[in-house]
């Protein structure tokens, strides 16, 4: 027995410890010959071990024969075949087939009643019958045998009907063919004997083999003590019940072991029940043979049948109860594990939520807050209890509430990561009534109670403050640049004003004539109007640049931006003796941007060009060009100055880098940040001998339907 089981350890198909260890030892000199030898050795060991165990069990079973029958009350060796085939991989079955043939032959060796050929033949039948039973179980109950009531039922069907039938019927037929007169009386008993043996011993042997194969798992000490106590109690009561003389024995006494059997079934499940049944079966049979106990009074025929019926009646329900207990325990522990896992997950989630620097809220479909972390308490000044169950709009100021509510409705209509409301304006409301800028992202989270919105709240106070400071800086820099040519701008406005005044004076004088030349006066008035428009245009452009407004992104034509800036700088260019040349793309160069900021970038670059040409003797030209190229608009500001040394080019756009004596070094840095804010890039080139080129590229606004509708909207709003 031991050798078979030890062998089983190495036979285990994949990944057993023993196998792996052996594999490791062989890895160094992994030669096919060695492996084959190893395989052959294992096969031989398995065959020998199985044959020996089968033979011994057979011999043991013979001891329990009721004379004069050659059959026993219950036949245990078949259970060994059944157990091994249940757990062995199909490719190793031939080992046990060979072992069975050997053991079958050996068991009847010297037994004059049965010829060797019959012994061998019945071994064939037995193997086929067990194989059929195993296939049946594997077909209807996958996984660990006896683990569920279902697989136990499949096993019971196989053990009680298929295997006994397939094993005993051919043997009976052979006997009948041989002219044996006692076939029929023994047939029913041998059928029941095989069925009982299979039923009672297979679960015990299988669990034993599985435990051997997997290595002994450390068992709970109290469990071991309980098993010992149960064994002792069962042995004592069984001895008492089954050794009492038949006379004066109450028939109901045979139910005395029942509580202990139930104990075994409920606490030790299938293996416990199986072993307990084995004990009862052996003790009852042994005592019955020796004329003791409740089954000793009648004729041997009656004994066997009574005993078998008794054992069957006890075994069947007990094994099913045991399987049920096992199934329930496993289901329960699985449930427990799942619950613990879930609790751990929840705990992890809670830790994450509590330890993040952001305020986090969970909001259900009806807009109520179902979770709020500590940061939320800190940020809004509420305690968690004050927030839970409240409508989440409570954390927004009254006037802004419709916006988040709408966002939440949209979120639940199409759950996906999204923000709330207008990020520029969204504010939170603290308990004390103060407001602060915030940003909220919503993430869908599935929970047992339905879909929740997981809201991550970011306090934008600092960000908004930084943005404000930056806007101030940008504005200040714009003013600084503009202040450099206040004189020119004043001149630019003064010129048309002067012309208007002189024209008006002239008209006045003309009207003093006796016959005033009215045509001339009309021409004068037309000139006055156009000069007035000219002055107001400059003022309008200027006012746009001086304004410290919000950033207003809209689709705009860069050609127009370039033209506007060239108007503002016309006088300054004039003063500096610089000619401004426009080379604008014939196609509209629509980008998504803020007009004032883009004008500021151009202003900086052009003034830069002016200053670069301060010392230039020859032609002073600034060429402004726009060009569409690969989904971008490229704007170039080229001067005819001395150019920029190559080593300075990369540093030009750094903050506080200036080549001018009185320059702050902010103009180009600000230009860069403005361009990058528009998703563009800015750079400088200085090909030798052709001045410096300052360029920036902005992504071309695709003429998508959306943009067009935006354009229409902005046109609408202008009206």
């Amino acid at each position: 027995m031991r050798s078979v089981l030890a062998d089983e350890k190495t036979v285990k198909p994949e990944g057993s410890h023993g196998h792996q260890r052996l594999g490791h030892q062989r890895l160094g000199h992994q030669r096919l010959g060695h492996q084959r030898l190893h395989q052959a050795f294992r096969a031989a060991l398995a065959i020998a071990g199985f044959a020996l165990a089968f033979f011994l069990l057979q011999r043991l079973t013979f001891l329990l024969r009721f004379p004069p029958y050659e059959r026993t009350t219950f036949w245990v060796p078949g259970a060994l075949t059944f157990s091994i085939l249940l757990i062995a991989p199909l490719k190793n079955w031939w080992w046990y087939y060979v072992g069975l043939c050997l053991a079958g032959y050996a068991a009847y060796y010297g037994d004059q009643q049965i010829p060797a050929s019959i012994a061998l033949l019945s071994a064939q039948f037995h193997f086929l019958a067990v194989a059929a039973g195993v296939f049946f179980i594997r077909r209807f109950a996958a996984g660990i045998p006896f683990a569920t009531v279902g697989s136990m039922l499949a096993f019971v069907l196989a053990a009680v009907f298929i295997v006994p039938f397939a094993t005993s019927v051919p043997a009976d037929l052979i006997r009948l063919y041989q002219g044996n007169p006692h076939v029929w009386p023994t047939a029913i008993r041998s059928f029941l004997s095989i069925a009982l043996g299979m039923l009672i011993a297979t679960p015990a042997l299988t669990t034993l083999l599985v435990q051997f194969r997997n290595g002994w798992q450390s068992t709970n000490r109290t469990k071991v003590l309980e098993a010992l106590a149960l064994s002792a109690a069962l042995l004592v009561i069984s001895f008492w019940v089954f050794t009492k003389p038949a006379e004066g024995n109450a028939p109901s006494l045979i139910y005395a072991p029942m509580p202990f059997l139930l104990w075994a079934a409920l606490r030790f499940e299938v293996s416990g029940a199986s072993w307990a049944l084995l004990v009862i079966a052996y003790l009852s049979t042994w005592n019955a043979i020796n004329g003791r106990g409740p089954f000793s009074a009648e004729t041997p025929d009656e004994h066997v049948l009574q005993l078998q019926v008794f054992l069957l009646a006890v075994s069947l329900p007990l094994l099913l109860v045991a399987a049920g207990a096992g199934e329930r325990r496993r289901a329960y522990s699985r449930l427990l594990e799942e619950m613990q896992e879930r609790r751990r997950t929840e705990e992890r989630f809670r830790l994450v939520v509590e330890s993040t620097p952001n305020a986090m809220l969970m909001i259900n479909r009806s807009g109520e807050i179902v979770l709020a972390n500590q940061q939320t308490e800190r940020l809004f000044g509420y305690r968690q209890e004050e927030l839970l169950g409240q409508p989440f709009e409570r954390i927004f100021p009254e006037r802004l509430r419709p916006e988040p509510a709408k966002s939440l409705r949209e979120f639940f209509a199409a759950p996906a990561l999204r923000g709330i409301g207008n990020e520029e304006e969204l504010c939170g409301l603290r308990k004390n009534g103060s407001e602060f800028p915030l940003e909220i992202g919503l993430t869908p989270i599935e929970s047992p109670g339905g879909l929740l919105a997981f809201a991550v709240v970011t306090d934008n106070t600092e960000k908004r403050r930084a943005e404000e400071a930056r806007r101030e800086l940008v504005h200040a820099s714009r003013l600084a640049v503009l202040s450099e040519f206040t004189a020119s701008i004043a001149h630019e406005i003064n010129q048309p004003l002067g012309a208007i005044l002189s024209n008006a004076d002239a008209a006045e004088l003309l009207l003093e004539n006796a016959s005033p030349p009215l045509d001339e006066v009309r021409r004068i008035l037309a000139d006055i109007r156009s000069d007035d428009l000219r002055a107001s245009e400059v003022i309008r452009k200027l006012r746009g640049l001086l304004r410290r407004g919000e950033v207003e992104r809209q689709p705009l034509d860069l050609n127009g931006v370039v033209r506007d800036v060239s108007i503002i700088l016309r006088a300054e260019a004039h003063r500096r003796g610089v000619e401004i040349i426009l080379k604008l793309s014939a196609n509209p160069c629509i980008v998504w941007g803020d007009r004032v900021h883009l004008q500021q970038v151009l202003l900086n670059l052009i003034v830069n060009g002016f200053e670069a040409m301060a010392e230039t003797r020859g032609d002073r030209r600034v060429t402004l060009s726009t060009e569409l190229s690969g989904g971008e608009v490229i704007v170039r500001v080229s001067d005819s100055g001395a150019g920029i040394p190559a080593e300075r080019l990369p540093k030009l756009f750094d903050r506080f880098f200036s080549t001018k004596r009185e320059g702050m070094g902010m103009g180009l840095a600000i230009s860069r940040s403005l361009v990058e804010e528009h998703g563009g890039r800015i750079w400088a080139e200085s090909p030798s001998g052709s001045g410096a080129h300052f360029c920036f590229a902005l992504p071309l606004e695709p003429p998508a339907a959306e943009t067009q509708s935006d354009l229409l909207n902005s046109v609408e709003s202008l009206r």
Binding site: G498, A499, S502, L509, I524, D527
Partner: protein, 206 residues
């Protein structure tokens, strides 16, 4: 010289300003001519002598101040009124030092402009008259012989005929005849007039 109508030359690169100022001057009864830059003026009226200039200080090409300097070098003494977009004091000082009649700031008041123009034309007229007389005296002086010029100089130095005669070694009667000739050629009747003419001609004690 014959009387010519004075012309006000307006030079400004800004079309509307130039047009308006010219219009105003014309309405005020002046003859006015406009030019977009200094070059146009020099090409169109190189020898204009009667009139004045209304000149923008800041222009592409030669600036107003540069034109002023160029005209001065040529001996053209047309009075200049500067117009400036903004009252630039150093520039106005420079212009006035160089002989500008006035320095006006745009937008220019009608009274200021017309007064300046009338003043400038006055100056122009005066200088023109002065220049005409000096040209006349010069031509009279050119008509004198070498001996007569010698005697002219000595007479206005206050020498007596006798002294002149002895200095030149000629007869006193001859001196008298020359002296009468000088008086006649210089178109003066009295010694006092002759002395004044000498002064105008710059014949001092040389």
């Amino acid at each position: 010289m014959t009387e010519t109508i004075p012309v006000v030359h307006v030079i400004d690169d800004d079309d509307s300003v130039r047009k308006a100022v010219t219009r105003l001057l014309k309405a005020a009864g002046y003859e006015a001519q406009d030019y977009a830059n200094a070059g146009d003026f020099l090409l169109a009226a190189p020898t204009a002598a009667s009139g004045c200039l209304v000149l923008d200080v800041r222009m592409p090409g030669p600036s107003g101040l540069e034109l002023q300097a160029a005209l001065k070098r040529q001996g053209n003494c047309l009075p200049i009124i500067f117009l400036s977009g903004h009252g630039d004091i150093p520039m106005s000082v420079q212009a006035i030092k160089a002989g500008a009649v006035d320095f006006l700031t745009k937008p220019v008041q009608r009274q200021a402009l017309l007064a300046a123009v009338s003043h400038a034309l006055e100056i122009n007229r005066a200088t023109s008259a002065e220049r005409a007389r000096s040209e006349f005296l010069q031509s009279c002086y050119q008509a004198l012989t070498e001996r007569e010029r010698e005697i002219f100089r000595m007479v206005v130095q206050g020498r007596l005929n006798k002294q002149i005669a002895s200095a030149l070694g000629i007869a006193e009667r001859t001196v008298k005849a020359h002296r009468a000739q000088v008086m006649e050629k210089m178109q003066v009747t009295t010694l006092a007039d002759l002395v004044r003419v000498a002064g105008e001609l710059g014949l001092e004690a040389a």
